[in-house]
Symmetry: C2
Subunit: 145 residues, 2 copies
């Protein structure tokens, strides 16, 4: 198993933990196919978590150190497209393993690179919404419905 | 490849077609893991299709002939549990290949067998809601929101 493959598997394992965390708190949860890529001309995000009609859609990233995390344009486009169709709230979810819990970053906060992709700085990660913030947000939206 | 394996693959291929059908009409679509079974203690249905906040959750069955289709209790329980969490509309979706299009059956119409599982008679299938019925229902619910 090479370095890249190892990273990929580590990512999946963290992603599964995140899915379980939402499931335990009463969310209905779906995970996209492991390929992460387009599958059968359908765009799948990493995780969809729904509670009482409040729909979240996530692209999940993990890192083992503080660094700028790059998100390819097609992944952000996918999140936005899915959100528009579903009327969902899209987030890039990042964890710096051993340093932070899950941090939820809104799409509009992302910086765009010269090549049209997106980047997330460590400062953005550390200031991102926490899992508890997302749970509070869910209750707030539900009440206002 | 044995008979059962062949059936399973045929089922997946039809399920993929159904997912694509919803995607083409503007739905956000997710498919559960191919195992169909419990995965990581999370319950996954076959397909979730969402449009503008209207959420459908499907367990998909195909047959090559008119017959009673049995649905194990745990699959129906899974659909109901997911629907409660998400505030979604659950359906068993059936296609008799070469004879019917997709037919959407409400859980409450299912007959219960002595062993506590569920069965769907051909009459129930032929009288089930069509794909167009589901699309109309989506618009109606959306308007009433």
């Amino acid at each position: 198993m090479n370095f890249r493959e190892k990273n990929r598997l580590r990512g999946f394992s963290h992603e599964r933990d995140l899915a379980r965390k939402f499931f335990r708190l009463g969310f209905a949860v779906m995970r996209g196919p492991a390929s992460g890529a387009k599958s059968n001309h359908i765009i799948y995000p990493d995780i969809v978590a729904i509670k009482d009609g409040v729909i979240f859609v996530f692209e999940v990233k993990t890192s083992t150190k503080d660094r700028i995390i790059y998100v390819p344009k097609h992944q952000v486009d996918k999140l936005i497209e899915f959100s528009k169709r579903a009327n969902a709230l899209p987030f890039i979810v990042v964890k710096i393993v051993g340093k932070t819990g899950w941090r939820f970053i809104k799409i509009e906060y992302l910086d765009i690179t010269k090549s049209g992709n997106y980047k997330i700085t460590p400062a953005l990660i550390y200031n991102g919404m926490t899992f508890s913030d997302i749970i509070s947000l869910t209750s707030k939206i539900k009440q206002s419905k």
